[in-house]
């Protein structure tokens, strides 16, 4: 009953003309971002942050969240119609989605992808409504040792589940943590690595780093790719799936919702992981798994539902504990901080208007998105005809102005430039930049938690094993860390077979 009352107040907040309009703008922009390859949801959110400066925090987060889950809807369009994933989470949709287009069933694939995304979005919202307040209540019992332990396991999970190998992700996390120490130490006021540069006293600045590394870096590497785009047209009457296709998609949609929601709780590339796991599960449970990759509707329904359901799951640690688990939620957290609000265990109880307003707006947003992605899909498909060489200069300009508008300072532009080049270099050498960005944002929290814990215990590390939750999490982190090291250094199956053959010879 409490949830229903809060939800009622949430709708009261979200159903104002202004907030509906902003939700629409966010969903529209998110869909465009999802459709256009070369720009991810994080860059899409960053580009619109300057537009939120004149808004209150509730309206700002409503719009930015719309971009986040909107991008998951839009990413399937190019996967299905062009065999080019609009988002990394839609890679799997290419396998069967494009095959369906080749068979003239592209419209049905688009319908099922949108329908599944809608159901996954709504079900994960229900999970968010129930779990986030419970998690926040639980997290209120957390002190510095528990906070340190949670962040430690978050980083180890980020390294394990990220796009890259563990051994590539961990140095990126270390680098992000290190650069997070630049500036004034919060506890003593001591200036670290500032070299007398006044602009560095408050740290390097998350916005120019994120904008540079993820936005500018992504554009620089995208301009090197030349894409030949064959865009298949889809007519409105071709959108409806057959009864058989609808029946076949129900199971994957419900399985994808559950899987996506749970995987969304984990740090790292949750959306990508959710869609891949869903695809593997559908292949495993199917009667004819060899048909996957030839145009099976289950291969579209499950992954697309899962990647959207992961958005709801990812909101739980972000809103319930103040720990963003993906670059997109990290940027949303930054946007809230700009508005003077820091998500954490007290966020839901102290800012119920924002939390429940956001939940209600996500319900509204999911309805807006299904309207945008079905009858209006033809409009978005036409966007793909705009050459990237027209788009990228505008994207760069928006990144520059967006960064400048935070502090009205060209120093931030210099930081953007430097991290844009660094982000580009990391992309070229195939090191994932996302763990670096997340670690930079969360680094100060880790350090503060560790130092406060040691101060409380008088310098003794026993504080960590005297707190059961912290002890459990730290042991889990150590086991996971060791497991990843073992997985990385053990000989592969091929090496064993070769050794056995040589032994027999």
């Amino acid at each position: 009953m409490d949830v229903l009352t809060n939800l009622y107040h949430g709708f009261h907040t979200a159903l104002t003309l202004n907030n509906i309009y902003l939700c629409f703008i966010g969903c529209l922009w998110g869909t465009i971002i999802g459709v256009l390859p070369g720009i991810g949801p994080m860059a899409g959110i960053i580009l619109l942050i300057p537009a939120t400066y004149g808004l209150d925090a509730t309206s700002a987060i409503i719009m930015l969240a719309g971009i986040y889950y909107g991008a998951m809807y839009g990413g399937s369009t190019t996967s299905i119609l062009m065999n080019i994933p609009g988002e990394s989470a839609s890679i799997v949709t290419c396998f069967d989605g494009y095959q369906m287009t080749q068979k003239g069933r592209g419209g049905a694939a688009l319908f099922v992808a949108a329908w599944g995304s809608w159901i996954g979005g709504i079900l994960s919202l229900i999970g968010l409504m129930i779990l986030a307040p419970s998690l926040a209540n639980f997290a209120m019992k957390f002190g510095p040792p528990e906070m340190f332990a949670v962040l430690l396991i978050a980083f180890v999970l980020l390294g394990s589940l990220g796009r890259d190998s563990f051994f590539k992700s961990m140095p990126m996390i270390f680098l992000g943590l290190f650069l997070g120490t630049v500036g004034m130490d919060q506890m003593t006021g001591y200036l670290r690595f500032t070299h007398g540069i006044r602009e560095l006293y408050d740290g390097i600045g998350f916005m120019p780093v994120a904008m540079g590394a993820m936005g500018v870096g992504e554009v620089l590497s995208s301009t090197e790719e030349s894409l030949v785009r064959i865009v298949h047209r889809v007519r409105l009457r071709e959108l409806l799936p057959t009864r058989q296709e609808l029946r076949a998609s129900w199971g994957p949609i419900f399985r994808g919702s559950g899987l996506g929601f749970v995987i969304g709780l984990l740090p790292g590339s949750a959306h990508v992981l959710a869609s891949f796991v869903s695809y593997l599960v559908e292949k495993r449970v199917a009667k004819n798994p060899e048909e996957f990759g030839t145009g099976r509707i289950e291969g579209v329904a499950g992954p697309e539902t899962a990647n959207n359901a992961a958005s709801g799951g990812a909101m739980i640690p972000f809103l319930g504990m103040g720990i963003p688990t993906s670059p997109a939620t990290a940027v949303m957290m930054f946007a809230l901080i700009i508005h003077g609000i820091r998500p954490g265990p007290l966020f839901i109880s102290e800012q119920p208007r924002i939390f429940w307003g956001l939940i209600a707006s996500m319900c509204i947003g999911n309805v807006i998105l299904i309207i945008l992605n079905l009858p209006l899909v033809g409009i978005f498909v036409n966007l793909l005809r705009i050459p990237f060489r027209v788009l990228f200069p505008m994207i760069l300009l928006i990144c520059l102005v967006g960064t400048y508008s935070v502090n009205y300072n060209t120093f931030d532009l210099g930081v953007l430039f430097a991290f844009g080049v660094l982000g580009y270099v990391f992309r070229k050498i195939k090191f994932d930049i996302a763990p670096f960005v997340l670690a930079m944002l969360l680094g100060p929290l880790v350090e503060e938690a560790l130092r406060l814990s040691l101060m409380r215990s008088g310098g003794s590390f026993s504080i960590f094993w005297n707190h059961r939750i912290a002890l459990t999490l730290i042991i889990s982190s150590c086991l996971l860390f060791l497991w990843n090291i073992y997985r990385g250094i053990r000989p592969s199956k091929a090496t064993w077979e070769r050794a056995l053959q040589e032994g027999e010879g």
């Binding site: 300057p50 537009a51 400066y53 004149g54 051994f167 590539k168 961990m170 140095p171 270390f174 680098l175 943590l177 290190f178 650069l179 120490t181 130490d185 506890m187 003593t188 001591y190 670290r192 690595f193 500018v216 554009v219 620089l220 590497s221 301009t223 090197e224 060489r389 027209v390 990228f392 200069p393 505008m394 760069l396 300009l397 928006i398 520059l400 102005v401 400048y404 508008s405 009205y408 060209t410 532009l413 210099g414 430039f417 844009g420 080049v421 660094l422 580009y424 270099v425 990391f426 070229k428 050498i429 195939k430 090191f431 560790l450 130092r451 040691l454 101060m455 008088g458 310098g459 003794s460």
Partner: protein, 151 residues
């Protein structure tokens, strides 16, 4: 030069930089850890990561062919052009003003990088430059530098 070695050099650079400068930051004690502990620990981890990746890079690069430098440099031409144009934008922004700088920046990108014809590049740069000025400066009320031509 393998990818792993490039990565290792970046990690080593930050690791050594951190080691050198964090030694001058107070460490405090176990009871009151100072601001130097965390950066020093991370610098050590970065340096170790850098060394390990350098070794991995050396093993992978053992059998590689001689680098064709011209081909290697050519693949970075577009990115280099964009970087130079962006650097010029940043340097000129406060002096010249947003309106002119953004239009010139877009013109350079459309002409030099995208290789549009002069009339197309000029038209696009003008429309998008003025459009962005109106959108950010007037609609979103962002205080853009006036520079030489206050408007």
């Amino acid at each position: 030069m393998t990818r792993e070695r490039v990565g290792s050099l970046i990690f080593l650079f930050f690791g050594i930089y951190g080691l050198v400068f964090s030694l001058g930051i107070p460490f405090g004690s176990w009871k009151r850890p100072g601001p130097g502990v965390f950066p020093l620990s991370l610098s050590i981890l970065l340096s170790i990561s850098g060394i390990l990746w350098f070794i991995v890079g050396k093993r992978k690069g053992g059998g590689e062919k001689r680098t064709e430098w011209r081909k290697f440099i050519k693949q970075f031409t577009t990115s280099f052009q964009i970087a130079v144009a962006t650097a010029a934008f940043i340097l000129l922004l406060n002096r010249v003003g947003y309106l002119l700088t953004s239009t010139l920046y877009l013109l350079v990108l459309f002409l030099w990088v995208c290789r549009y014809r002069l009339w197309a590049a000029t038209g696009l740069a003008f429309c998008l430059g003025v459009g962005s000025w109106l959108f950010f400066g007037k609609l979103l009320d962002v205080q853009l530098p006036q520079g030489l031509f206050p408007l």
